[in-house]
């Protein structure tokens, strides 16, 4: 189910300092949002796609398939923004008449919708670059370095670990129920799902006890102290990141000037 996690561990960028990857992803994400420009959005998508596919080695098919994941939200969201209702036909470039009103799209609506569409795709590609090149374990190590409280990072680490244990459990339970026709009808489906969720909950509750005992046996004293890999970095490695951002900012300013702030 969780492809992204699997590809993160396979990425050729896995050994790169995670902080560097986080800085690249977040800074470009920020510029992409700030620029609010189709050109910058498309460039962002291309740059991040190149990093992920060419440098990280994520199969291009997987990258494209993942880009389609948020598409349904995107299409609905963008259409909702673009389509408006008015009593006046003239505000729209295209409209239909229904229920005594005009439903249609205006020129500025189309423009801002297109803008938003590409901006969101560009932003998503930044998120994917990060998540397809940086395993969660490394990300948590960065959070720790960035002074996120220890308790928070420990909690996240435990949740991440046990998501996979419970997913596997839920999957087997679902299969077992399914093979006894638990999802053959709507009402039996509800009963089955409730039974699954409640036994999963009870198991997870018990698992807390069992884990605590196992940790105590290894000398747990209220702190999940583990050793962290030290990622060595040199400041020069941040030069490309700065250049990319400067380039995108320049493109943004230039295209604003060219289109009068429209795109």
């Amino acid at each position: 189910m969780i492809y992204i996690d699997k590809y993160a561990y396979l990425s050729k960028l896995k050994q790169t300092n995670p902080l560097q990857k986080l800085v690249l992803a977040v800074s470009v994400l920020g510029v992409c949002l700030w620029a609010d420009s189709v050109a910058v959005s498309i460039l962002t998508l291309l740059i991040m796609g190149w990093y992920t596919v060419c440098k990280g080695g994520t199969p291009v098919g997987i990258f494209i398939r993942l880009m389609l994941v948020p598409l349904s939200f995107l299409v609905i969201g963008v259409l909702t923004i673009a389509v408006n209702v008015s009593g006046d036909k003239d505000v729209f470039v295209f409209s239909v008449y229904a229920f005594g009103m005009y439903i249609g799209v205006s020129q500025s609506g189309i423009l801002s919708a297109a803008n938003l569409f590409f901006k969101a795709l560009g932003a998503v590609s930044c998120l994917y670059y990060l998540s397809l090149s940086t395993p969660m374990v490394d990300l948590l190590a960065v959070l720790r370095k960035l002074k996120v409280p220890r308790l928070m990072v420990e909690l996240m680490g435990l949740i991440y670990r046990f998501i996979f244990v419970f997913l596997e459990m839920a999957d087997t339970m679902f299969t077992a129920q399914n093979s006894r026709l638990g999802y053959a009808g709507l009402s039996s489906g509800y009963r089955s799902l409730a039974a699954l969720a409640s036994s999963l909950f009870i198991r997870s509750y018990q698992r807390a006890d069992e884990l605590y005992i196992a940790l105590e046996a290894r000398g747990y004293d209220g702190e999940l102290s583990v050793i962290h890999e030290q990622a060595e970095t040199h400041w020069t490695e941040y030069i490309p990141i700065v250049l990319i951002n400067l380039f995108l900012i320049a493109v943004a300013l230039f295209s604003k000037q060219l289109t009068g702030g429209l795109l």
Binding site: S72, I76, N84, A120, L127, Y128, I163, S199, L200
Partner: protein, 230 residues
């Protein structure tokens, strides 16, 4: 004729599309930078309050950490289960009501934030820049509504099942009402402004959620029943 098909197509799309997606977190890059910061800033006090309350409890009972971690992992897995439906399309429970009743709204702010972060990074549902907005709707407003509903119904001597049902259903629904408000504020309509926009977003993100909220309510009642008989 042409127009009718157009409208029909639009209506059909709005009816079916939302049901096939995950819990409708606002996706990465969808909100303008200003709103990302605003919602993030609004969420921070709640998350901090939750964090300090967790830290206090864990300090006294270290095992609470394991319990919260398992609750978090459980909630993540719960939200990936498919609720059966007549149409064959699938929706996913939010677990907002369930978590709020069991762990209280304070802890849910923190657990909600973590789950939303994992959903963004591991599943690409939601995003980093929209984390604040999504935490506000799903980790704060939803649980608060659910928790308050549960307490009020209980106080009014309502039956347990009704309290659980209303808490879960309203928690789910209000989560998406909040999402609609967030989207409407960020994208006011060219004609009619934010209110017109809100009508549109409510129609699409909240109204379609009504049957799903009822589903989640029923499901949560059944889960509570099963757990209490354990």
């Amino acid at each position: 004729m042409n127009k009718k098909i157009w409208i029909m197509g639009l209506v059909l799309m709005f009816m079916f599309l939302p049901q096939q997606t995950y819990a409708m977190h606002i996706m990465e890059g969808f909100l303008p930078a200003g709103w990302c910061i605003t919602w993030g800033a609004l969420a921070i006090p709640f998350v901090l309050a939750g964090f300090f309350s967790i830290r206090r409890t864990v300090g006294e009972h270290p095992k609470t950490l394991m319990l919260l971690a398992m609750a978090g992992a459980f909630a993540f897995v719960l939200s990936s289960l498919k609720i059966p439906s007549v149409t064959g399309s699938s929706s996913h429970p939010t677990g907002v009501g369930f978590g709020a009743i069991l762990f209280g709204p304070t802890a849910m702010a923190v657990i909600g934030l973590i789950i939303l972060l994992f959903q963004a990074v591991l599943l690409a549902h939601g995003g980093l820049t929209t984390l604040g907005a999504n935490t506000f709707s799903m980790g704060i407003v939803g649980p608060l509504v659910a928790f308050a509903t549960y307490k009020i119904v209980k106080k009014a001597n309502g039956p347990q099942w009704l309290a659980v049902f209303l808490a879960a259903a309203l928690g789910d629904l209000l989560t998406y009402v909040t999402t609609s408000v967030q989207l409407a504020l960020a994208f006011p309509a060219g004609t009619g402004g934010a209110m017109a926009s809100l009508t549109k977003f409510l129609g699409i993100f909240a109204l379609t959620q009504v049957p799903l909220a009822i589903s989640e309510g029923i499901l949560t009642v059944l889960i509570f029943k099963a757990i209490s008989s354990y």
